[in-house]
C-alpha cells in the first residue's frame, strides 16, 4: 500500500464508522471504552495500581489517536495544505483531544497542588465521546441554533445577579464577609436552589430575596423552553430529511 492509501485508510478508521467497516467500528468501541474507563480515577478518593495502569494505557491510546488525527488532518479539513494541519490543531475537538492527554504529566512529576489539578483535565475526555454519539451531534446542532438567545438570557441573568448582589450587600453588610458571598447568595436565590446557609434578616433583604426567587422562576425556565423548541424542530427536520 502506498503512503497516501495508508493515510486515507487511517482516516477512515479513526473517523466514525460507516456500515460494514469492522476496523473502524472496533476502533470506535476501543475509544469509547478508553474514554469511559479513563474517567474512573475521578470516582476514587486516591489512586491505586489499577488507576496507574489505566492512566498509562488510556494516555497511550489517546496519544496514538491524536497523532493519527493530526497526520490525517488534510483529509478531515478537505484541503491539502500546511494550513489544514494548523486549522485542525486549533479546532475545538483537537484541543479537547490534546487536553485529554495532559493529565498523564502528574504521574511523572512530584505531587503539588497545581500538578494535582491536572487530574481534573480527565473530565475533558468525556467530550471525546461527542464524535461517536449521534444524539450528541443533534444536541450540539440545537445549541448552535439557539446560541444567540441563550447568550441573551445568560447576560440578563448575570446582570440581575450582580444588581441583586450589590443591593443586598449594601442593605445587609453584616450578613456577608465579602462581595463574593453576596454573589453566591444571589446565584443560589435566582436559581431557586436556596441552601439557606445565608439568609436575609431585614425586611428589605427579604423583599429582594422574594423578587429574586420570582425572577428566577421566570428567567431560569426560559432557556429550557428555547432548547426544547429547537430540539423538537431539529428532530422533525431530521425525520423529514429521511422521509424524502
Amino acid at each position: 500500500m502506498q503512503k497516501e492509501q495508508i493515510k486515507k485508510r487511517v482516516y477512515e478508521v479513526i473517523e466514525v464508522s460507516s456500515i460494514g467497516d469492522a476496523s473502524s467500528r472496533a476502533y470506535d468501541v476501543l475509544m469509547t471504552t478508553a474514554v469511559i474507563v479513563g474517567m474512573i480515577p475521578l470516582t476514587l478518593k486516591s489512586d491505586n495500581s489499577y488507576t496507574y495502569a489505566i492512566e498509562m494505557l488510556t494516555t497511550l491510546i489517546f496519544v496514538i489517536d491524536y497523532v493519527s488525527r493530526v497526520w490525517t488532518a488534510d483529509y478531515k479539513m478537505g484541503y491539502k495544505s500546511f494550513k489544514a494541519y494548523i486549522a485542525y490543531i486549533l479546532s475545538p475537538m483537537a484541543l479537547f483531544d490534546f487536553l485529554s492527554i495532559v493529565p498523564v504529566i502528574y504521574l511523572f512529576t512530584p505531587v503539588g497542588a497545581s500538578i494535582g489539578l491536572l487530574k481534573l483535565f480527565r473530565a475533558f475526555r468525556v467530550l471525546k465521546l461527542i464524535r461517536y454519539s449521534k444524539t450528541a451531534v443533534v444536541i450540539a446542532n440545537v445549541l448552535r441554533k439557539v446560541k444567540k438567545e441563550l447568550l441573551a438570557v445568560l447576560i440578563l441573568i448575570i446582570i440581575y445577579i450582580f444588581v441583586s448582589a450589590m443591593l443586598i450587600f449594601q442593605l445587609e453588610p453584616d450578613l456577608f464577609a465579602n462581595f463574593f458571598d453576596a454573589l453566591y447568595w444571589a446565584t443560589i436565590s435566582i436559581t431557586t436552589i436556596g441552601y439557606g446557609d445565608i439568609y436575609p434578616t431585614t425586611n428589605v433583604g427579604r423583599l429582594i430575596t422574594m423578587v429574586s426567587a420570582l425572577v428566577g422562576v421566570a428567567v431560569i425556565a426560559l432557556p429550557s423552553g428555547m432548547i426544547t423548541a429547537a430540539y423538537i424542530s431539529e428532530i422533525s427536520r431530521k425525520k423529514s430529511k429521511y422521509e424524502l
Binding site: 500500500m1 502506498q2 478508521v13 469492522a22 476496523s23 472496533a26 476502533y27 468501541v29 476501543l30 471504552t33 478508553a34 469511559i36 474507563v37 474512573i40 480515577p41 470516582t43 476514587l44 478518593k45 486516591s46 491505586n48 489499577y50 488507576t51 495502569a53 489505566i54 494505557l57 488510556t58 491510546i61
Partner: protein, 54 residues
C-alpha cells in the same frame, strides 16, 4: 484488477490469492477488542478496589 504491489497479495495453502490488507484489518480488529476488554477489566477492578476495597 491487477495489483502493482505484489507485497500486498499472498497465495495460501489452497492456492487461493489473498490480500494481506484483509489480514492486517483482522489483526487490528482483534487487537482493538483485546485492548477494550483489558481496559474494561482494569476499570472494574479500579472502581471496586477504590470504593469497596479495604
Amino acid at each position: 484488477m491487477t495489483n502493482k504491489h505484489g507485497k500486498d497479495v499472498y497465495i495460501d495453502d489452497l492456492g487461493v490469492k489473498k490480500s494481506k490488507v484483509g489480514i492486517y484489518s483482522r489483526i487490528f480488529v482483534i487487537l482493538c477488542r483485546i485492548f477494550s476488554i483489558i481496559l474494561a477489566a482494569l476499570g472494574i477492578l479500579a472502581f471496586v478496589t477504590g470504593n469497596f476495597g479495604s
